[in-house]
């Protein structure tokens, strides 16, 4: 809630407005150094501020000359702590839902999706807990079918499935200017802990007002001091200035000089820089040689119809990116070199380059299979400090590692290949064997069967003959 303007707050120091009745840029800068950059001195003149060139000049000189010591404006006298207003609770009835909410999830009393749903046990009707409590307080009946109902635990229950359904609805953060979309189950956490636009108690213990969380920083202190608006003569709290600019300020809109569109003054610079169709601008590919310039709508037309420099522009851009990568790599290399030189300087430095480099193991020479590692180590040490091919032991080691890795990879590949070949070979060999075994087995079965038959016949014949 904006406090009425012109209300002096006890103990707050009101920064003196500039002689022109303008926003005092210097006192403004004290509180919000980030914003002073976006408060453009280069802002193009707007109607109604025709005389502003001299003004802004005086403004900037004022801003640069320390006419008044900043302490006179800083550090308001310490005030006794006041009990601060609590952060306003998240109002579930005010939430904006991204998707359409099913009618079955709407409370018949408040007509918004249930907040803390509660169901009557006897008739099974569901309401928001606060809505039902209030209704039953007035009349002890179910609001839907007028069955007697008391607000006691054994007549009511909390439908968990409804809560889960509600938690999955997507909602927008209720704070103006936040725009976060999240599920309803998470909105409370977002609002309480994360949203930068949530109103929280002013960091000044003597101040009982609320400020958005993003404005609570130690260097800003209490933002509830009055400032004079730059456009109208209204006196507003520093904390409210954005809202004032965007909504209340009497002079808050102005015609753009170029395109006659009505724009919020506070956003005029942005409008001229990025949106105004008549503002002078240059082609996107100006940096790559395109000479087209003029009103934005013409330039946009030109860009839309395909600037000939577009292809070059892409290449150039890629090149610029590459160059950035290269310079980054170079910087890292320098750092590594510096580090290595610091380290190698500790070891005795051979003053000359070993002739022929007998101990030197070049990339091509390196083979894991031959040469004991100790010799490799010593040669590495010998070499690295002096040989120009390897500027630092790190590089050398890295190269070696890379090579080893490549070799390992090769080995792994060949092992896999070998493995595969082996298994195929094995399979090829075992298949006929298996076939033969099966054949033999069936032969055995036939033989056994015949043997059985023969024996049986013998058995039959035996007693008969006997």
């Amino acid at each position: 809630m904006p406090p009425p303007p012109n209300t002096p707050v006890a103990g707050t120091r009101v920064p003196t407005p500039g002689p022109s009745g303008q926003w005092d840029a210097r006192s403004y800068a004290e509180f919000r150094p980030v914003h002073i950059r976006s408060q453009p001195t280069s802002r193009p003149p707007t109607p109604g501020r025709q005389a502003s060139s001299s003004r802004s000049a005086s403004n900037s000189t004022r801003a640069s000359t320390p006419a008044m010591p900043p302490e006179t404006q800083h550090s308001p006298p310490p005030r006794p702590p006041r009990s601060p207003q609590p952060t306003p609770p998240l109002d579930y009835q005010d939430l904006a839902y991204v998707d359409e909410v099913d009618d079955t999830l709407i409370c018949p009393i408040c007509r918004t999706p249930f907040h803390e749903p509660i169901t009557t046990k006897r008739c099974g009707h569901t309401f928001c807990t606060p809505c039902l409590r209030r209704a039953v307080d007035l009349q002890p009946i179910c609001p839907i079918d007028r069955q007697p109902l008391a607000f006691v635990a054994d007549q009511l229950c909390h439908p968990r499935i409804v809560s889960h359904q509600l938690d999955r609805l997507r909602v927008r953060c209720p704070n103006a200017g936040c725009g976060t979309v999240t599920t309803r189950g998470l909105i409370q956490t977002h609002y309480d802990r994360h949203c930068e636009r949530t109103l929280v108690p002013c960091p000044d213990v003597g101040c009982a007002r609320l400020v958005p969380r993003e404005d609570v920083t130690s260097e800003l202190g209490c933002l509830h001091r009055e400032m004079r608006c730059r456009y109208c003569d209204a006196v507003v709290f520093l904390a409210d200035r954005e809202r004032h600019y965007d909504a209340d300020c009497e002079g808050h809109t102005a015609k753009c000089l170029e395109c006659n569109a009505v724009v919020v003054r506070h956003r005029m610079a942005d409008h001229v820089m990025n949106h105004c169709p008549e503002a002078q601008t240059v082609c996107r590919f100006h940096a790559f040689g395109c000479s087209v310039a003029g009103a934005r709508r013409f330039v946009e037309l030109h860009e839309g119809s395909g600037c000939v420099y577009e292809a070059i522009g892409k290449l150039m851009r890629a090149q610029v990116e590459d160059r950035a990568v290269i310079s980054d790599l170079r910087a890292r290399l320098t750092a590594v070199e510096r580090w290595s030189s610091k380290h190698t300087s500790r070891s005795p430095r051979p003053g000359h380059r070993p002739s022929g480099g007998e101990g030197y193991m070049s990339m091509s020479d390196l083979d894991l299979d031959d040469g004991p590692s100790s010799s490799a180590q010593s040669s590495f040490l010998n070499d690295s400090a002096s040989n120009g091919a390897w500027e630092s032991p790190e590089d050398y080691m890295l190269a070696q590692f890379e090579r080893m890795e490549a070799k390992m990879e090769d080995l792994r590949k060949s092992v896999t290949e070998l493995d595969g070949r082996h298994s195929v070979m094995l399979l090829n060999e075992t298949m006929p064997l298996k076939d033969q075994i099966t054949e033999l087995r069936s032969n055995m079965g036939v033989l056994g069967f015949q043997l059985h038959n023969t024996l049986d016949e013998d058995g039959v014949r035996g007693p008969g003959s006997a």
Binding site: Q85, P88, P89, Q93, I109, Q139, L199
Partner: protein, 176 residues
């Protein structure tokens, strides 16, 4: 209508409301009425309509009901006014016929005798359900508790005369 507006707690200076906006009942009423307005706009019921009165006060609405076919009120349109208490929907709105109507349960100043607008009100009713109830009351008056005794008598005894009286009484009024 004016005094309603002035006495409504919704007209408390905004600066006084502070952070506890949930505690202010008229805020809840306004919110609920806003939701109802949205629902009436998106899914209107046939034969009834309602809209906040032009002065921008959400606690006062104008509504219209079309007389249902097969009743003496067929093809007639009736204007009504709704005045919502600040604790709506926990208390019923005050509904009046603005168009003169000859009906057993409506008196000559437009007051309506309908239980759901009195003791049978529950917060689950809304503008649309009230309008639909009033519409069905046109076809099925409660002649046991009439505000207009003559009409209650004629309804059963002489439907033709009843219809004539209805037509005599009905006058379209302006949008004031």
């Amino acid at each position: 209508m004016e005094d309603i507006q002035n006495s409504a707690p919704g007209s408390v200076p905004a600066g006084k409301l502070g952070a506890r906006k949930g505690a202010d009942p008229s805020q809840n009423a306004a919110k609920r009425l806003q939701t109802e307005l949205m629902q009436l706009m998106t899914s209107p019921a046939p034969g009834v309509s309602a809209f906040p009165s032009a002065d921008g006060n959400l606690l006062a609405w104008n509504a219209t009901i079309e007389g249902p076919a097969d009743t003496p009120y067929a093809d007639l349109t009736f204007k009504l006014s709704f005045e919502f208490p600040s604790n709506y929907p926990y208390a019923p709105p005050t509904v009046l016929y603005k168009t003169p109507i000859y009906h057993p349960n409506v008196d000559f100043s437009g007051r309506i005798c309908l239980d759901i607008l009195k003791d049978k009100w529950t917060p689950a009713y809304n503008i649309q359900s009230v309008l639909l109830s009033l519409q069905s009351l046109l076809g099925e008056p409660n002649n046991a508790s009439p505000l207009n005794g003559e009409a209650a008598e004629l309804w059963d005894k002489d439907p033709t005369l009843f219809k004539t009286k209805v037509m005599d009484r009905h006058k379209d009024i302006g949008d004031d």
